[in-house]
């Protein structure tokens, strides 16, 4: 998924969109190296030294990795694991595009 995520971040850099990670690797030092090597430019919360048993994934009831939530500009959960729906990466892209349009429309109304 990294290449697709990199391309999303690049493609949507001028849009109201952010990719945020919640990382569940236990070893933070090793993780820093991976992020550098694989050119992962987006920010991640760290789930803590318990790895997949950490507090954030627990609160979000994450049972399988990766798990993705799309959250709209109002902070509302809108789509769960779009990358696993029929169409896979295309389904993910389309869901993001739809929410970006909503965010842009809301920003327009707000600035009038």
């Amino acid at each position: 998924m990294y290449p697709h995520e990199r391309s999303l971040v690049e493609k949507l850099k001028d849009k109201p969109f952010t990719l945020l990670g919640v990382n569940s690797d236990k070893d933070r030092a090793a993780l820093k190296k991976i992020i550098e090597e694989k050119k992962l430019t987006w920010r991640s919360f760290w789930n803590g030294p318990q790895g997949t048993g950490g507090p954030i994934s627990k609160e979000w009831n994450v049972q399988a990795w990766p798990t993705v939530y799309l959250i709209d500009h109002t902070g509302t959960i809108r789509v769960k694991n779009p990358q696993a729906l029929p169409g896979e990466e295309k389904a993910l892209d389309e869901a993001i595009d739809k929410l970006i349009k909503e965010a842009e429309a809301a920003a327009k109304v707000g600035s009038k």
């Binding site: 990719l19 919640v22 954030i56 009831n61 993705v68 799309l70 959250i71 959960i77 993001i96």
Partner: protein, 293 residues
């Protein structure tokens, strides 16, 4: 390296984080006879032949993956690429083999509906990774020939995780029509798991309204397990031990639904710097729970 969830469900042994299974209800493959004969004739032999063909593809994908993970420091990008391509190819082959196996299991069940092998074939093919929709003719096979089979547990586990609407219908039908109390209890337990999966499953898009609609029936079914089926043993565990976890899961299923507010996250990033999810209000956030393992 991250695998698609459908493969994680198969490659449990290699553990890419928890696989997509119910914690209290692990998927069970049937136990076909281990000896494959050159020309399978009986339904049981045919079942074993399908399983063996699929197992070969699974083995290939796992060994390609292992090769890829055994990276040495001196490995060149070119060598890495070759391994990656071999892995991608094995995954594609596996997907093909798995889809083919699913079709063959279903065909076998339809050809020999009354044979115990039909039940084993369905128990395998209805696991969610095959993506097979539980159609009326398959439901009819189980109701007509296997309603009180002592070997129904495997099928019930698979069907509980199969998210086609027919799965819910089949579980309801078994719970209502079976005369064996053990089968009734297992089917009711599986029906609760099916309902919870619809609310909280990996690709569930359930809303508050869905939760409000499903909750009363799930509560009633859990109560029924507690009063009528507490002593039934399912996959080696007494159902009485599952009641509290089911109630807990039902309670928790009320959060993280589509259309509800995202819970706040306030935590440190990889460099130890604190930040919050709500810092990004006004933007679309793709929140990705990931790990490099």
């Amino acid at each position: 390296m991250r695998l698609l969830p459908w493969l994680a469900a198969v490659a449990v042994g290699l553990c890419f984080g928890p696989a997509l299974t119910l914690a209290d209800d692990p998927p069970k493959k049937p136990d076909p006879p281990r000896k494959t004969v050159a020309e399978p004739k009986t339904p049981a032999e045919k079942l074993a032949a399908i399983a063996d063909a699929e197992a070969a593809a699974t083995k290939a994908v796992l060994s390609a993956q292992q090769a890829m993970r055994k990276q040495t420091k001196t490995e060149t990008d070119e060598q890495k690429k070759v391994k990656q391509e071999a892995f991608d190819k094995a995954v594609a082959e596996y997907r093909k083999a798995s889809a083919e196996a699913g079709r063959r299991y279903i065909a076998l069940a339809k050809e020999f509906p009354a044979d115990p092998a039909a039940l084993d074939a369905l128990a395998t093919a209805l696991q969610p990774n095959y993506g097979i929709v539980l159609s009326d003719d398959l439901i009819a096979i189980v109701r007509k020939h296997h309603l009180n089979s002592p070997k129904l547990a495997g099928l019930l586990s698979a069907v509980a995780r199969n998210q086609s609407p027919g799965a819910g219908n089949l579980l309801k039908a078994i719970a209502a029509e079976a005369t064996d109390a053990k089968v009734k209890g297992m089917a009711t337990f599986a029906a609760v798991n099916y309902g919870l999966e619809r609310l909280t499953g990996y690709t569930s898009q359930a809303t508050k309204a869905d939760y409000a609609k499903l909750r009363p029936e799930l509560e009633r079914q859990i109560d029924q397990i507690a009063t009528e089926f507490a002593d039934v043993v399912f996959n080696g565990v007494k159902l009485s031990a599952g009641i509290d976890p089911l109630r807990e899961r039902l309670k928790k299923a009320d959060s993280l639904l589509i259309g509800t507010a995202a819970p706040e996250i306030a935590a440190a990033d990889i460099d130890g710097k604190e930040f919050k999810l709500s810092d990004y209000r006004g933007k679309v956030v793709m929140l990705d729970f990931w790990g490099d393992w």
